[in-house]
C-alpha cells in the first residue's frame, strides 16, 4: 500500500503542471479595459480625468508582478517538469515571432513610403497625371515630409552620432548578457550577476541617449510626429523599439534580482534565457532600425 502510494506520487509529480484556478487574468483584463477607456476619453477630450488610467495601470502592474512571481516560485519549487520547460520555450519563441511581425508592419510602411508612395507622388510609374495635376513640384527625395511639407522643414538625426553609439551600446549588451549566461551555466553566480548589471546599465544608457536624441530632434531639428511620412515612420519605429527596450530592461532587472536571491540553477533557468532571447530580439530590431531608418 505504502509503496503503491509512493509510486503514484512519483508518477503524479512528473505530471504536467496545471495551475489552480486564478482570478488574475480577469482582473488584469478589467484593469487594461480601464486604461483604454481612460485613454479613449483623453483622446476624445471627454474630461474623465486620468484616474482610470492610473488605477488601471497600477492594478495591471500589480497583477503582472504577482503572476510572474507565482511562475517563478512554481519553478523554484520544482513543479515544472521537462515538458513545462519546453512549453515556456516554445511559447516565448512564438511570442517573439508575433513581435517581429508587429515591427514588420511598420518596416513595411517605411518601405512602402520610400519605394512606392513617394515615387508615385513624384510621377513615377503610371502616376504622371496625378503628379502633374496635384503637386507638379514634388520630387522623390528622402527624407521627405510630403508634397505639402507638413510641419515645415526639418533636419534628421545623423546616423553616425548618437545612433551609432546606441548601436554599440546595444551590441555590447548582447555580449554582456551572453557572458552572464555562460557564468550562470558554470555556476559563477557573482560573475553572472555583475554581467547582468552591466547589461542593465547598457540598456539604461541606451534609453538615456534615445531620450536625449528625441528632445534634440523634436525641439532642435523640428522633427516631430507630424513631419510627414518621415516623422511618422521615424518616431513610430524608434518609439515602439524604445518601449520594448524599456520593457526588456525592466525584465533584466527582475531577472537580476531573482539571481541575487538565489533563483535559477546552472542546468535549468528558462526565466533567464527567455529574457535573454527577448533582449537579443530588441537588439536585432535595433540593427534593422539603424540600417533602414538612420543609415539608408
Amino acid at each position: 500500500m505504502a509503496t503503491q502510494a509512493a509510486h503514484h506520487d512519483a508518477a503524479a509529480s512528473n505530471r504536467y503542471f496545471v495551475p489552480d484556478p486564478s482570478a488574475w487574468p480577469f482582473v488584469l483584463t478589467a484593469a487594461l479595459a480601464a486604461v483604454v477607456v481612460g485613454v479613449a476619453g483623453f483622446l476624445e477630450n471627454k474630461h474623465i480625468g486620468p484616474i482610470p488610467i492610473w488605477i488601471g495601470s497600477a492594478v495591471a502592474i500589480y497583477i503582472i508582478f504577482r503572476w510572474l512571481r507565482a511562475v517563478s516560485l512554481e519553478s523554484e519549487h520544482g513543479k515544472y517538469n521537462q515538458a513545462v520547460d519546453s512549453t515556456y520555450r516554445m511559447a516565448m519563441a512564438w511570442f517573439i515571432f508575433s513581435e517581429v511581425m508587429f515591427f514588420g508592419a511598420f518596416f513595411g510602411a517605411l518601405w512602402y513610403a520610400r519605394e512606392l508612395s513617394i515615387p508615385w507622388l513624384s510621377g513615377e510609374g503610371t502616376k504622371v497625371a496625378t503628379h502633374l495635376t496635384l503637386w507638379p513640384m514634388f520630387e522623390n527625395i528622402w527624407p521627405n515630409n510630403g508634397p505639402m511639407e507638413l510641419n515645415g522643414s526639418f533636419e534628421t538625426v545623423g546616423a553616425w552620432g548618437l545612433p551609432f553609439i546606441n548601436t554599440l551600446l546595444l551590441l555590447t549588451s548582447g555580449v554582456t548578457i551572453t557572458m552572464a549566461h555562460h557564468a550562470l551555466k558554470e555556476n559563477h553566480r557573482l560573475s553572472c550577476i555583475l554581467w547582468m548589471w552591466a547589461t542593465v546599465a547598457l540598456g539604461v544608457a541606451f534609453l538615456g541617449c534615445q531620450g536625449y536624441e528625441y528632445v534634440h530632434a523634436w525641439e532642435g531639428l523640428n522633427l516631430t510626429l507630424s513631419s510627414g511620412i518621415y516623422g511618422s515612420t521615424f518616431y513610430m519605429l524608434t518609439g515602439f523599439h524604445g518601449m520594448h527596450v524599456t520593457l526588456g530592461t525592466i525584465m533584466l532587472i527582475i531577472i537580476t534580482c531573482r539571481l541575487m536571491s538565489g533563483h535559477f540553477k546552472p542546468e535549468s533557468h528558462f526565466g533567464f534565457e527567455g529574457v535573454a532571447w527577448y533582449w537579443h530580439f530588441v537588439d536585432v530590431v535595433w540593427v534593422g532600425l539603424f540600417i533602414f531608418v538612420y543609415v539608408l
Partner: protein, 545 residues
C-alpha cells in the same frame, strides 16, 4: 517546508480526480480548465452570433424594398460594419477557439492546454473587448460605419467611438495570439507518446496552421490600426498623401492580415469536416498526408495573394497579374481537399446523422463559394464584380455554409461527449434542412443582383433588384429563426435531458476523445494515454492496403 508544500500539492493533485470544479460564478471567472474555457468560448461565440445576426436582420429588413424605410443610411452603414466585425472576431474565431479548447487536449492526449492561466486570460479579454466595441453604438457619432476593413480616410471620420474600435481590436489581437500560442504549444509539445506529427488528428493539424497564421498576422493588423490611431490623434501621415503617405498603403497592410484571416476562418472548418466525414462514411480519411500538405500550402499561399481585394485600386499591371495568378493557385490545394472528402465518402457505408448532413452540405456549398472566389480572382472581371453583391454572395457562401456550418456540425458531433447526453436527432434534421435551404435562399440570389450591378454597403438600390432582395430577406429571417431550434437542442443536452450517450457515441468515430467516458471527465489524460493506428483511425498495418 518546501517539501511539505510539495507534498501537499501532490495530495491535492491526487484529489482532483475526485472532486469536480468549484461552484458559482467564480468557477467561470477563475477557471484554468480547458473544458470550462471551451464552453465559455462557445457560449460567448453564440451570443455574438445572435447579436451579429440581429444586425444582419436590420440590414436585410432595410433592403426589403428600394428607398429608405427603417433606418437612416448612417445607421445602415454602422450595421454592415459592426455585423462583420462581430461575426468574424466575436463569432467564428471564438467558436473555433472554443472547439480547439475542448478538443485539442483530448485529441492529443494532454491533461489541459499548455498554458492554462494564459488560456483564461485569452478568453476573458473577449467580453471586455466586445463591450468596448458594442458600446460605440451609443456614442456620439455612433459605431464605426466605414466597413469592417476600416479604410482610411473614411474610417477616420468615425465619431467618439473611434478609439474604442482601435483598442477593441488590439484586445482581440492579444486574445487571438494567446489562444494561438496555446494551441501551437499544446499540439507541438503535449502529444501522447507515439503520436507523431503525421498521426495527429487533422483537426489539430488545421488548427496548428491556423494558429501560425494568427500569430503571424494579428500583430500586423494591430500595427495597421495603430497607424490609424496615430494618424487621427497624433498628426502622423501614414495614410495621407499630403504628407507623403498613401491611403492605399493601409489597404495593403490590412489585406496582408485580411487574406490569411479568411483562411483563419476556414482552416479549422476543414479540420472539422475531415473529422466528421470519415466517421459517418466509416472509412479512414482518404489522402491524410495530402490533406496536411494541402493545408500547409494554402497557408503559405495565403500570404502572397492579398491584393486580390484591391484589383480596382489602381495597382501597377504587374501587381494585378501577380495577384491574379497567385490567387488562382490556391484553388489547387483547395481542390485536393474537396477531392479527398468526396473520395472518403466514395463507397463508404454512409449514414446521415445531423453532423454528417452539415459536413456534406459544407463540401458542396463551400465549393460554390470557392468557385465564385475563382471568378473574383480574375482581375479583369473583378473590375465588374468588385464591391457588388457578388462579393457578398462569395464570402457568405464560404463563411455561412462554410465556417458556420462546420461549427454547427462540430457541436452536434461532440456535444454527446461534452454533456453525456444525445441531442434530438429529429430536431437536428429539421434544423439542418431549414438552415441548408434558407442559406441558399438568402445568398444565392445575391450572385445575380451582384452580377447585374447592385452595390454592397448601400441602403438603397435600383428597382430592378427588388425580387432578388426580397427572396434574400425572407431567407435571412428563416435562417435566423431556424437557429433557435439548434440552441434549444443544445440547451436540452446541457440540461442533461435526453438519451444518455455512450462512450463511443458514433460507431465510426475514431480518436482519443472516444476512449474516455461521456461526459468527458473534468480532467482527462492526466497521464498520457497509449495510442495506436486503430484508435487514431488510420488503416491498421495488419491489413492489406
Amino acid at each position: 517546508m518546501a517539501n511539505a508544500e510539495a507534498h501537499h500539492d501532490h495530495a491535492h493533485g491526487h484529489d482532483d480526480h475526485h472532486h469536480g470544479p468549484d461552484k458559482g460564478i467564480m468557477r467561470w471567472i477563475k477557471t484554468t480548465n480547458h473544458k470550462d474555457l471551451g464552453t465559455l468560448y462557445l457560449i460567448f461565440a453564440f451570443s455574438m452570433f445572435f447579436v451579429g445576426g440581429l444586425m444582419s436582420l436590420v440590414i436585410r429588413a432595410e433592403l426589403w424594398e428600394p428607398g429608405l424605410q427603417f433606418v437612416d443610411p448612417e445607421f445602415f452603414n454602422q450595421m454592415t460594419t459592426m455585423h462583420a466585425l462581430v461575426m468574424i472576431f466575436g463569432g467564428v474565431m471564438p467558436a473555433f477557439t472554443g472547439l480547439a479548447n475542448w478538443m485539442v487536449p483530448m485529441m492529443v492526449g494532454a491533461s489541459d492546454m499548455a498554458l492554462p492561466r494564459v488560456n483564461n486570460w485569452g478568453f476573458w479579454i473577449l467580453p471586455f473587448a466586445f463591450t468596448l466595441l458594442l458600446s460605440t453604438l451609443f456614442m456620439d457619432g455612433g459605431a464605426p460605419a466605414g466597413g469592417w476593413t476600416m479604410y482610411p480616410p473614411l474610417v477616420l471620420q468615425t465619431g467618439e467611438g473611434f478609439p474604442f474600435l482601435i483598442f477593441a481590436i488590439h484586445l482581440m489581437g492579444i486574445s487571438s495570439i494567446t489562444g494561438a500560442i496555446n494551441v501551437v504549444v499544446t499540439v507541438l509539445n503535449l502529444r501522447a507518446p507515439g503520436m507523431t506529427l503525421l498521426k495527429m488528428p487533422l483537426f489539430c493539424w488545421t488548427w496548428l496552421i491556423t494558429a501560425y497564421l494568427l500569430i503571424a498576422t494579428m500583430p500586423v493588423l494591430a500595427g495597421a490600426v495603430t497607424m490609424l490611431l496615430t494618424d487621427k490623434y497624433f498628426g502622423t501621415s501614414f495614410f495621407t498623401a499630403s504628407g507623403g503617405g498613401d491611403p492605399v498603403m493601409f489597404q495593403h497592410i490590412f489585406w496582408f492580415f485580411g487574406h490569411p484571416e479568411v483562411y483563419i476562418l476556414i482552416l479549422p472548418a476543414f479540420g472539422v469536416v475531415s473529422t466528421i466525414i470519415p466517421a459517418f462514411a466509416r472509412k479512414p480519411l482518404f489522402g491524410y498526408d495530402s490533406m496536411v500538405y494541402a493545408t500547409a500550402s494554402i497557408a503559405f499561399l495565403s500570404f502572397i495573394v492579398w491584393a486580390h481585394h484591391m484589383f480596382t485600386v489602381g495597382m501597377p499591371l504587374a501587381g494585378e497579374l501577380f495577384f491574379m495568378f497567385s490567387t488562382m493557385l490556391i484553388a489547387v490545394p483547395t481542390g485536393v481537399k474537396v477531392f479527398n472528402w468526396i473520395a472518403t465518402m466514395w463507397r463508404g457505408s454512409m449514414t446521415f446523422e445531423t453532423p454528417m448532413l452539415f459536413a456534406i452540405a459544407f463540401v458542396f456549398l463551400f465549393s460554390i463559394g470557392g468557385f465564385s472566389g475563382l471568378m473574383l480572382a480574375i482581375a479583369p472581371v473583378d473590375f465588374q464584380y468588385h464591391d457588388t453583391y457578388f462579393v457578398v454572395a462569395h464570402f457568405h457562401y464560404v463563411l455561412v455554409p462554410g465556417a458556420v456550418f462546420s461549427i454547427i456540425a462540430a457541436v452536434y458531433y461532440w456535444i454527446p461527449k461534452w454533456t453525456g447526453v444525445m441531442y434530438s436527432e429529429f430536431w437536428g434534421k429539421v434544423h439542418f434542412w431549414l438552415s441548408a435551404i434558407a442559406v441558399n435562399v438568402t445568398f444565392f440570389p445575391q450572385h445575380f443582383s451582384g452580377l447585374a450591378g447592385m452595390q454592397r454597403r448601400v441602403p438603397d438600390y435600383a428597382v430592378q433588384f427588388v425580387d432578388f432582395n426580397q427572396v434574400s430577406t425572407i431567407g435571412a429571417f428563416v435562417f435566423f429563426i431556424a437557429q433557435f431550434i439548434f440552441i434549444g437542442n443544445m440547451i436540452r443536452c446541457m440540461a442533461k435531458k435526453g438519451e444518455k450517450a455512450t462512450q463511443q457515441v458514433w460507431e465510426g468515430a475514431r480518436g482519443l476523445e472516444w476512449t474516455v467516458p461521456s461526459p468527458a471527465p473534468y480532467h482527462t489524460f492526466e497521464d498520457p494515454p497509449k495510442v495506436n493506428d486503430e484508435i487514431l483511425g488510420f488503416p491498421s498495418h495488419g491489413k492489406a492496403h
